[in-house]
């Protein structure tokens, strides 16, 4: 089956300018720097990384909120940067997003029915009656009663609001939903509800997710494959379980060491990683991870490693392999 979305050499550099006048570009922030990635139908790839690693910029590029500096994104085999008119409308209809904070992503002035029906008003010529029927249908899908359509977002708890956001994302026969930390703002017990709900919806509707997160256990649980990002690059990509059992890149290893235990008796190694993520403004030469890497060699400071496939479906960007 051909992939639903294909990303090739995707790059986004943001200019850093001096004061207002004279406005000069003095440097570039390499937020995303040459990533290759694909999303298959009914699949969930996960993207994991710390703040500033470029995961949110990647999602913005996919959602056409930013235009790439270089590289292509193909949806259904078609380059999305060339889309316009009906093609662009179709793309925006089929690719949707759910954000982290359901308190700020839903308009407090709109009723739930209006929030969910808005994409329908834009993308379809359904009558009001048909729209309301569709709203009731998706509310049922996400486990809310149809009566709640009359209510405003403030009348809901965080978990219910996130369900409303998911319903809004699903309403237009969506094929890909970008989930940008969808459960980080929720309580523990509600998190599990939403994750189970997302998995169930995928089984029923065959929708693909791009799951972005920073909590390893959460991302590994819901994703089929995981891309680990560091300073704008994918440093390792593998099947979720393969990555959990055999992490190769020293940064992935550090993430696993830093992950919190599930039981007090789980053994605890001290994190060998020192320092903090360097600024994307001046990424270190050679391998971007080498100043923090416990296994750095002389070569790492000079030569940037390329991503190599070490096993089918498992690739890593490191000189050790």
């Amino acid at each position: 089956m051909p992939p639903l979305l294909e990303i090739e050499g995707l790059t986004k550099h943001f200019p850093v300018t001096t004061a207002v006048f004279p406005r000069k570009k003095v440097a570039w922030v390499k937020a995303v720097d040459g990533i290759d990635f694909s999303i298959n139908p009914a699949e969930t790839p996960g993207v994991i990384g710390e703040s500033g690693c470029g995961k949110t910029t990647t999602s913005k590029l996919i959602l056409l909120q930013e235009s790439p500096t270089a590289g292509t994104i193909r949806f259904d085999g078609q380059d999305i940067s060339g889309l316009s008119g009906a093609g662009l409308m179709r793309y925006r209809r089929e690719v949707q997003v759910v954000f982290q904070d359901p308190y700020s992503s839903l308009s407090p002035r709109m009723r739930v029915s209006e929030i969910i029906a808005e994409p329908l008003q834009i993308h379809t010529n359904m009558t009001r009656q048909q729209q309301q029927e569709r709203v009731a249908e998706v509310l049922d899908l996400v486990g809310l009663r149809p009566e709640v359509a009359r209510l405003f977002p403030h009348e809901f708890s965080g978990g219910q609001r996130q369900r409303v956001a998911i319903a809004r994302a699903l309403v237009t026969d969506t094929r890909l939903i970008v989930l940008d930390e969808p459960v980080s703002a929720l309580d523990v017990s509600i998190r599990a509800q939403i994750m189970n709900q997302l998995e169930e919806l995928q089984e029923r509707l065959g929708v693909s997710y791009l799951f972005i997160g920073h909590d390893l256990a959460t991302v590994a649980h819901i994703s089929h494959r995981i891309a680990v990002m560091y300073l704008g690059q994918i440093v390792e990509l593998a099947e979720a379980l393969e990555l959990c059992h055999r992490p190769l890149h020293p940064y992935t290893n550090a993430l696993f060491t830093a992950a919190l235990p599930a039981h007090p008796d789980d053994k605890h190694e001290k994190l060998a990683l020192s320092g903090e993520v360097p600024s994307a403004l001046a990424p270190p030469p050679g391998c971007r991870f080498h100043p923090r890497c416990p296994k750095a060699m002389a070569r790492c400071a000079i030569e940037a490693p390329v991503r190599k496939e070490v096993d089918p479906g498992h690739s890593v960007r490191c000189h050790l392999y």
């Binding site: 998190r191 509800q193 920073h214 993430l255 599930a262």
Partner: protein, 338 residues
């Protein structure tokens, strides 16, 4: 030897509309903490864990008041103290680390001034010895080149460094108890791991006791000796961390553990149905019964009392009730009612 901190039957209520609306944010909470011990306090938002901590340090917001119970700290009852007496306890005896390091540091004062303040007031350090103490504290929390960094301001620090500086401020007065309210929620995973390792090390060096307020059971598994699980203003289960993880007695504890994703496992998570209740309109009987998979008919009527289910272990659930046939039913009702 008496415990360092003994909270007994603490009740803190939020009263609004001239007494027409009373929210029992903390409802008969009791726990003890020994010198050098770490207690984890977990629960969902609005379960009263933060209000419990604010009651201990006497920083309750307007509208909230302690209406009953005692907070015995090193032989004094903190609940009965006046604000001016509390000022001598806060910082010197009990320090607090809050969630957002940017909000707990003053952007207008240098790092030196903020770290020095507790040592200045509570340890009466002045001049050169004060400067030496600040450098020592910044060294202890691994701030590189402290002599230079202490002249800088909070905006010049990264998030992880700011939280370490808050840690240095907490230690500056030489407290015996630190209350850390979700200190790592805003930090990246690797920075969080570094911070937790650092806290553990500082605890070993200084022997300070820590109360860790969190909603993350992973942090409890790594850091704590004892655990208190809170739900709707009450401690529903308490005991040693290992025992609670191995044999949880209360269905809520079981559910919380089941809803934690485990690394490298695709097992379906056991979600807790429904929402945490609104404290102003609690269901009758056990507050957890509408969401409880093991609820009995009596759970909707009688509030369960705190039953001892082992040494140093309690659970507030009818399922944990000791099975002794010769106690008449009325006695239970009486125990539950008060």
């Amino acid at each position: 030897m008496p415990s360092l901190l003994q909270v007994s039957n603490l009740q803190t209520h939020y009263v609004s509309f001239g007494g027409a609306r009373v929210v029992k944010a903390v409802d008969r909470v009791s726990f003890t903490l020994e010198e050098g011990e770490t207690l984890g306090m977990v629960g969902e938002s609005g379960c009263g864990k933060t209000t419990t901590c604010l009651s201990i340090v006497g920083l309750l917001p307007a509208g909230a008041q302690i209406v009953g119970g005692r907070i015995d700290y090193a032989g004094q009852d903190l609940a009965a103290m006046s604000q001016s007496e509390m000022r001598r306890v806060r910082g010197a005896q009990i320090a607090m680390i809050l969630q957002d390091p940017m909000a707990s540091l003053n952007p207008l004062f240098s790092i030196y001034r903020q770290v020095a303040e507790p040592a200045f007031y509570h340890r009466a350090l002045r001049g050169r010895s004060l400067g030496a103490r600040v450098r020592e504290l910044l060294n202890a929390v691994r701030i590189p080149s402290p002599a230079m960094r202490m002249r800088e301001y909070p905006h010049q620090m990264s998030g992880g460094m700011r939280q370490r500086i808050v840690g240095a401020i907490a230690l500056a007065g030489g407290p015996r108890l630190i209350i850390a309210d979700e200190p790592t929620t805003n930090l990246d995973v690797t920075i969080q791991a570094q911070y937790l390792d650092l806290l553990k090390e500082l605890q070993e060096q200084t022997g300070v006791a820590i109360i860790f307020v969190t909603h993350n059971l992973g942090i409890v598994a790594r850091m704590c000796d004892k655990l208190a699980v809170m739900y709707a203003g009450k401690i529903v289960e308490a005991g040693s961390v290992r025992e609670l993880f191995n044999t949880p007695k209360h269905p809520y504890t079981k559910a919380l553990l089941g809803s934690m994703p485990k690394l490298g496992s695709k097992e379906k998570l056991s979600a807790i149905p429904g929402q945490p209740p609104d404290l102003a309109t609690l269901p009758p009987g056990c507050a957890f019964h509408p969401r409880c998979p093991e609820a009995l008919p009596r759970c909707a009527i009688d509030t369960p009392a705190e039953f001892a289910v082992g040494p140093q272990r309690t659970a507030r659930c009818w399922l944990a009730e000791p099975q002794i046939a010769d106690i008449p039913g009325e006695l239970h009702a009486a125990a539950a009612g008060n």
